[in-house]
């Protein structure tokens, strides 16, 4: 029958160096003590990465401070904007290379890095480039001032996109930055450092320090940073909040989520199925705003689940570099073990586990797309963030019950509503405690739209005009 032949994207589009040092003050330093970064799809080593020390962090913060004092804070906004536009254009020019690099280091399918991640990265720089000379209109009064040096720590799920979310508004607002990428996915941040050189960005405006959690802690705790921006787990977010308490560092945290995707009986069913799939299986479910709890109205449960299961049968799991792969590799062995443990716990608590038949590659870290059926709100899989391709299915009878169940979580990052009734969408969007509410769609991102959480999903907003407030005096 109609089998798709392998259609691999070329690895030769990207050339990694054997080893990388930090990028500080416009230059790549010699590699220090290193660790290996791998391709999670086949566990092959891609490069040696420097494990940053407190000394390295100090060097980077000093470079950022100096660049801030001497160059960046003195430039008019229109000049800063030119650099950001230039960076955005280079990202577009090197889009294929960046997409391949991201897929190799992260494990996500090439069709996602090519069609979602990298286009959004460029869009973020273009958008904030436009703001650089219009800060008077950010809603913070006339002539709002930058904070100074921003310490930014980002996760592994959207490595370059999270970098863009952090660096673009920071530079537009006039700050300089030291950014630490996640230990498992440093390579696109290092390629971005090359792009900064190519754009002739003044030395020290962007500094990249690689390493593990302690490197990040040293950065966040450094005395001379004015701003801390973190995206990652709620657990680490708590540590950071404690660490910066009592300082005058401004903080934004974008943490975990356990979003409800609520499907009413009058929903456009075929599109709701697509939205559910996109909500939980996009990026292997490594999405903080993933729709990981499906709340389906009891009267359509059977019909919807049948459609959902059939659709899941058509998902193609495998080599992330294949252009037809829908579900790639889990980013690390540690994450794979965590997902496996949580799913086992769910089964133990009485949920029924279902996955379509699919061949799991021998090497690399993979987890089949999974439904947890018959889940009750008390189950672990209904409460904890799994951060993997696992969807917990629950039902509701009335709109009120849907809202109650959706809000019954310690998180509050996002939610989805599926109904043909516009008035219900507006009412529910008001009642849901979530930073983002999608209606008849899910997991849509745009630089003009603020993004952020309620409750333990963090505080502060990224994106849009609101995202500027995090990097200017006078904002929250």
């Amino acid at each position: 029958m109609f089998e798709y032949a392998p259609a691999p994207e070329s690895q030769a589009l990207v050339n990694f160096k054997d080893s990388y040092g930090h990028f500080i003050d416009g230059k790549f330093l010699k590699p220090g003590k290193t660790y290996q970064t791998i391709n999670p799809a086949n566990e092959k080593v891609l490069a040696e990465i420097t494990y940053g020390t407190e000394k390295d962090v100090d060097l980077a913060v000093k470079a950022a401070r100096q660049a801030y004092e001497k160059v960046w804070s003195k430039l008019p906004g229109s000049e800063r904007g030119k650099y950001l536009y230039r960076i955005a254009r280079i990202i577009q020019e090197r889009a294929r290379e960046l997409a391949v690099a991201e897929t190799l280091n992260n494990g996500k399918p090439i069709k996602e890095t090519r069609d979602v991640d990298i286009p959004l990265v460029a869009a973020w720089f273009f958008y904030y480039a436009g703001w650089a000379d219009k800060l008077d209109y950010a809603g913070l009064g006339p002539n709002p001032q930058a904070l100074g040096v921003a310490a930014q720590v980002i996760p592994w799920n959207f490595p370059l996109m999270m970098l863009a979310w952090k660096i673009a508004p920071a530079l537009a607002a006039g700050n300089t930055v030291v950014l630490k990428p996640a230990e498992t996915t440093p390579l696109t941040a290092l390629l971005f450092a090359e792009i900064c050189q190519q754009a002739e960005l003044p030395d020290g405006v962007v500094n990249i320090v690689t390493g593990f959690g302690d490197t990040g802690a040293a950065l966040v705790g450094h005395k001379d940073v004015n701003k801390v921006a973190f995206t990652g787990s709620t657990e680490v977010g708590r540590i950071i909040a404690r660490q910066v308490a009592g300082t005058n560092k401004k903080v934004t945290l974008e943490l975990g989520g356990k979003a409800a995707n609520i499907v009413f009986d009058d929903a456009p069913l075929d599109q709701a199925v697509e939205g559910i799939i996109n909500g939980i299986f996009f990026n292997q479910g490594h999405v903080c705003c993933a729709g990981s709890r499906l709340l389906v109205q009891e009267s359509i449960q059977d019909e919807l689940l049948k459609k959902l299961q059939r659709r899941m049968e058509s998902l193609r799991l495998g080599d992330p570099m294949d252009k037809n792969t829908d579900i790639g590799a889990i980013n690390s062995q540690a994450q794979l073990k965590k997902i496996e443990a949580l799913v086992k716990q769910g089964e133990k608590e009485g949920a029924e586990r279902w996955s379509p038949a699919c061949v799991i590659p021998k090497n690399g870290f993979y987890f089949a797309p999974t439904l947890m059926l018959g889940v009750s709100p008390a189950n672990t899989v209904a409460r904890e963030e799994i951060f993997g391709p696992v969807l917990s299915v629950m039902t509701f009878r009335t709109p009120q019950e849907a809202v109650t169940k959706a809000n019954n979580t310690e998180f509050g990052l996002s939610a989805g509503i599926w109904t043909e009734k516009g008035s219900r969408i507006l009412k529910l969007a008001d009642q849901l405690n979530a930073g983002v509410v999608w209606a008849n769609t899910f997991n849509q991102f745009d630089p003009t739209s603020p993004f952020g959480g309620f409750k333990e999903s963090g505080y502060g907003r990224e994106g849009g005009k609101q995202g500027l407030a995090a990097y200017l005096k006078g904002g929250y």
């Binding site: 109609f2 032949a5 069609d115 929903a267």
Partner: protein
């Protein structure tokens, strides 16, 4: 063919009101979501062996069409000869499923095709507008069937549909179906053209699909090829969802035929991907999926030659028709 009672499916006597209630209880279609899914399937990368399979499949599922006022017996004959031997340089090249012509050309097509197994499809019921009285439409159909048409491509009364007169549309399809009956008691295969470009909304297209299936259509077809918007991938995907769900509910297999505007092999392959990933492999079969096309065949032949020889020949190396 299993016979379904429309009353049993609708759950009441068939009246305009019961049809309206039934059709309007179908789940709505979200335009943005439908089009996004169609676009994402359009990025599937079909190479080497899968491309070779798809090109052959596209030919086997083709209704090679000529529907012009200037059609002549000679022109139809030459198209039939093209169908019999699509590529003289490669006698393994598969043949299209059918030749699609106007009713008065059926006899010429039948004569040229003989017992080759290639069907003759005739457009009927005052194609393309459908604006004629019901007796005229039925006579048009009977005439084509009598001339030997294996398949009838009828058009629905879009005016009646858009004015909410679902019962009229339903009755006409049923009547045309009866007009497809041959003297030996068998039926010519009935394809129901919805003319989706005139129905405009996706909700209308889903409802018209269900109405056509309820009334006994064997195939639902997008377009006449004579209006501004003809077959598109989202529309075809929506109709494939309809036949898939119909089979789930009633156990009856209905075919889908996109027609008009499909000109390149690349497009055809995209459609096949949508068939596979929407309705399933079962529909990748000339009995359940057809392309209505005139110029598509030559592009597929050129791509086929390129895949075989490694060189792209160009339009002078395939016959015009």
């Amino acid at each position: 063919m299993q016979l379904l009672s429309p009353e049993a499916i609708v759950g009441s006597r068939i009246t305009n009101q019961s049809l309206r209630r039934w059709l309007h209880s179908l789940p709505g279609v979200d335009k943005v979501g439908l089009e996004a899914r169609a676009a994402s399937l359009g990025t599937r990368s079909i190479k080497t062996s899968s491309k070779a399979w798809a090109l052959d499949a596209a030919i086997k599922m083709m209704d090679l069409t000529t529907l012009e006022g200037m059609d002549t017996p000679e022109r139809v004959k030459s198209l039939c000869l093209k169908a019999l031997t699509p590529d003289p340089t490669d006698l393994d090249c598969p043949r299209p499923a059918a030749i699609c012509v106007y009713g008065d050309m059926v006899k010429h097509a039948k004569k040229a095709l003989g017992n080759s197994g290639i069907y003759v499809a005739a457009v009927a019921t005052a194609f393309p507008s459908g604006r004629a009285s019901v007796p005229v439409k039925l006579l048009d159909t009977k005439d084509a069937v009598k001339a030997g048409a294996d398949e009838i491509d009828m058009v629905i009364d879009r005016g009646a549909f858009l004015s909410g007169n679902y019962l009229e549309v339903f009755k006409q399809i049923q009547a045309v179906k009866e007009a497809c009956k041959r003297s030996d008691g068998s039926y010519a295969h009935l394809k129901v053209i919805l003319e989706t470009g005139e129905l405009q909304t996706y909700d209308n297209i889903r409802r018209a699909s269900y109405l056509a299936m309820l009334a006994g259509g064997d195939f639902i077809k997008t377009s006449t090829g004579k209006v501004t918007v003809n077959a598109t991938i989202p529309i075809t995907m929506l109709m494939l969802q309809a036949v898939r769900d119909w089979y789930d509910e009633h156990g009856v297999l209905i075919g889908v035929k996109p027609a008009g505007g499909i000109r390149t092999a690349k497009d055809a392959i995209k459609y096949l991907v949508v068939v596979k990933e929407t309705a399933g492999e079962q529909w990748l079969n000339p009995d359940l999926f057809r392309f209505g096309a005139s110029s598509l065949l030559n592009d597929v032949l050129m791509q086929r030659q390129k895949l075989k020889t490694g060189n792209y020949s160009g339009p002078d190396y395939v016959s015009v028709d």
